[in-house]
């Protein structure tokens, strides 16, 4: 990691968020599960090297929106997406776009830690292996080490890389999943309630990690915890009943939101 670029990123973050360029642009995104409509013409843009938090009550469509960003919804039967989502000018729902390649660029971390029932090493090396990012043993060793370091797990597991990933604690497993996602060098990392299955200490570690990852990756995180959104994100988007209610700088969102519903939700009047 280069000090200059880090400093530049920090500077950019300190400026008004509006000057940061968009990484992903969602225009009139609607999602249908069979007959049921889950998202109503959502227009939400994701800024580069920024943590964007998606908040809202259960069933509001925030996870659905997150999953449209790397087309994980494709795996659900009867799911239909309309509208347009671009990643660096590429329409990700264009028929010529390969979904495998898209998911290499937009990684994902799930609600429940889901390491493969393989060794820690193999968990991290799997992505680079299928995408051909590493060829030799030493290249694999390198990518495993750097990924685990980025996920803040290296010091805890460096002596037991061949042990099963499922033997780690919940928080370590989740950081292993983050390392696994980081290993394929994605541009965007999607996190679907990554801390909901973790205790407060493990949560704090993951949040710290998200903060560090921001300089290299664009992060979109779905969370149920208002405090977490306030702690980790720079931009926050509030969903309600499948609609995007408001999207704003996190500071403004939690102090002086534009929309009454956001205010009510943050104050705990519903949700």
């Amino acid at each position: 990691m280069n000090i200059m670029s880090e400093a530049a990123v920090e500077k950019a973050l300190d400026q008004k968020m509006n000057t940061v360029p968009y990484k992903m642009i969602g225009k009139d995104v609607s999602v249908y599960y069979g007959e049921k409509r889950a998202l109503f013409d959502v227009n939400l843009n994701i800024r580069e090297n920024t943590v964007t938090a998606l908040i809202g009550p259960s069933g509001c469509g925030k996870s659905t929106f997150l999953r449209t960003l790397n087309r994980m919804n494709d795996t659900i039967e009867n799911c239909r997406v309309t509208g347009k989502i671009t990643l660096d000018e590429d329409d990700i729902y264009d028929p010529t776009i390969d979904v495998v390649e898209l998911r290499a660029r937009v990684g994902m971390v799930f609600q429940k830690p889901n390491p493969f029932p393989k060794s820690i090493y193999d968990n991290v090396a799997y992505g680079p292996r299928i995408h051909g990012l590493a060829r030799t043993k030493s290249e694999f060793d390198d990518v495993v080490e750097t990924s685990l370091q980025k996920a803040g797990l290296w010091n805890e597991v460096k002596d037991r890389l061949q042990e099963p990933g499922t033997g780690l604690s919940g928080g370590q497993q989740q950081r292993l999943c983050i390392a696994r996602a980081v290993a394929v060098s994605p541009e965007v990392i999607l996190m679907d309630e990554p801390c909901s299955a973790l205790d407060p200490i493990a949560t704090a570690k993951v949040e710290e990690l998200i903060h560090e990852l921001r300089s290299n990756f664009t992060i979109v995180i779905v969370t149920h915890s208002m405090q977490q959104a306030a702690r980790v994100s720079q931009r926050t988007a509030m969903f309600h009943l499948g609609n995007l209610v408001e999207e704003n700088d996190t500071d403004k969102m939690f102090t002086n939101p534009d929309d009454q519903r956001t205010q009510d939700y943050i104050m705990g009047r519903f949700g």
Binding site: V100, E101, L102, F110, K112, N114, F116, G127, T166
Partner: protein
């Protein structure tokens, strides 16, 4: 004072407790009753299992012993090759009168007057007719034995074998039994001389079909069963697993796949004899494959095993947690990579268990084999699955139909061998399961 106070307390609590009385006793009684039903069901099952095993083993363990008679056989050149033609004519050694050698040895051993033909006949009847081929094989393998005297262990005739094992009631008048008093006397004489004795019966494992119980074995049937199991494994496992993966992971969920699913479930319940008819019509009559061949048997059993394997494999694939699929897909693995790198290895224990249960089922199947001509008297080992052979359960069925006393124990013996095969296969399933099982 307390006498007055305590009724007051009782009165205040009674209505509440009466309201809460919703039959605790009845509930516990119901639970005890149910537990008793369960225990009696299990005990009944165990009782019948024990009865089955006891019957089979008590009838069958003697089949693993065979009475043998060891005689010094003089390979006289005059009997085997009277004209000295063996160097030029290979047939001489094949067609020589070998039983004559046994007769001479018996006359010498028992000290019989060779001119009393009925006595000599009784003596030669004590030795199995399979001695002819036994001695022939010795001479053909090594012609230099001619002219020498070699001690050879011959099989005792089945009735002598039964008598020696105490299975024939000697109190019955000798006209009503197959072993005559004279033979029993000789038998006891030879037994005390150490010539006649019981030894482990390797023949039951190696011999083919024979109408003489002492020379009958399950060798050919076991090889036939082995061929069929290999064919079933090679065909049913890949076809079944491929079909399940397609149905479970790739096929769209619509009317057609629903119909296919219902049909597969129904096929698993189709009586096996129907598969035999199918095999007869398609493989033998239409495709012109040989009758009695392990190939046809294997194909029929493959068809019969496929639904079992498909159902077990689909259940195993369904049981793999979806989070593993999401994890792989989220990393950018293709559907194929997700299935072959992650889902299939996790489903492997279930698939293997299903396959081995299917194989064990196929191993014990008799009905379809009857229809494709595998109920046959096959003496020689099949060299390939195209040649005639029988199967273990069919051999049991055929032996059960035989009249001789000695086939009773051999039928049970063959059942024991089949059961051992099944136990070994199930153990294999358990071991494979343990080996492939992973936690997640």
């Amino acid at each position: 004072m307390t006498d007055i106070a305590s009724p007051a307390v009782r009165i205040s609590t009674r209505p509440a407790s009466a309201k809460r009385d919703i039959g605790i006793k009845r509930r516990y009684a119901a639970e005890r009753r149910f537990r008793a039903y369960g225990i009696s069901a299990i005990s009944l099952g165990l009782f019948f299992l024990a009865l089955l095993l006891w019957t089979v083993f008590s009838n069958g363990y003697t089949a693993f012993q065979q009475t043998t008679i060891t005689l010094p056989i003089e390979f006289t050149e005059k009997v085997i090759d009277p004209k000295g033609e063996r160097a030029t004519d290979g047939k001489v050694l094949m067609t020589a009168n070998y039983p004559l050698l046994v007769r001479d040895a018996l006359i010498k051993q028992l000290g019989i007057d060779a001119t009393k033909r009925p006595l000599v006949k009784q003596a030669t009847d004590m030795v199995s007719a399979s001695s002819r081929t036994l001695l022939r094989d010795i001479v053909v393998a090594d012609p230099s034995v001619i002219g020498k005297t070699v001690s050879v262990t011959l099989l005792a005739e089945a009735n002598v074998d039964s008598a020696f094992k105490g299975q024939i009631d000697l109190a019955v008048d000798q006209s009503k039994r197959k072993v005559k008093d004279q033979q029993v006397t000789w038998m006891n004489e030879m037994a005390s001389a150490g010539v006649l004795k019981k030894s482990f019966n390797t023949g039951i494992f190696t011999f083919g079909a024979s109408s003489r119980p002492e020379a009958a074995g399950v060798g050919v049937a076991a090889l036939g069963s082995l061929f069929m199991m290999l064919i079933v494994l090679v065909l049913a496992l890949p076809i079944g697993v491929a079909a399940s993966i397609y149905l479970e992971e790739f096929a769209p969920k619509n009317r057609l796949t629903d119909l296919i699913e219902v049909n597969i479930n129904n096929l698993a319940a189709v009586p096996s004899i129907v598969y035999g008819l199918l095999g007869l019509a398609v493989f033998i009559n239409f495709a012109g494959m040989p009758r009695s061949a392990a190939l046809v048997g294997g194909l029929v059993l493959t068809l019969m095993t496929l639904p079992t394997i498909i159902i077990a494999t689909r259940a195993a694939l369904k049981a793999v947690p979806p989070s593993i699929r999401s994890a792989a897909l989220g990393l950018g693995a293709s559907k194929m990579q997700t299935i072959f790198h992650h889902v299939l290895p996790l489903a492997m224990p279930g698939i293997l268990t299903g396959t081995i249960i299917g194989l064990a089922h196929a191993l014990g199947e008799t009905a379809p084999l009857l229809l494709i001509g595998m109920v046959a008297f096959v003496v020689d080992y099949p060299g390939s699955p195209m040649e005639p052979s029988t199967a273990l359960p069919v051999q049991i069925y055929m032996w059960a139909n035989e009249a001789e006393r000695a086939f009773v124990e051999r039928t049970s013996g063959a059942i024991i061998i089949l059961l051992i095969f099944l136990v070994v296969m199930n153990l294999g399933a358990i071991l494979l399961r343990r080996r492939f099982e992973r936690r997640w």
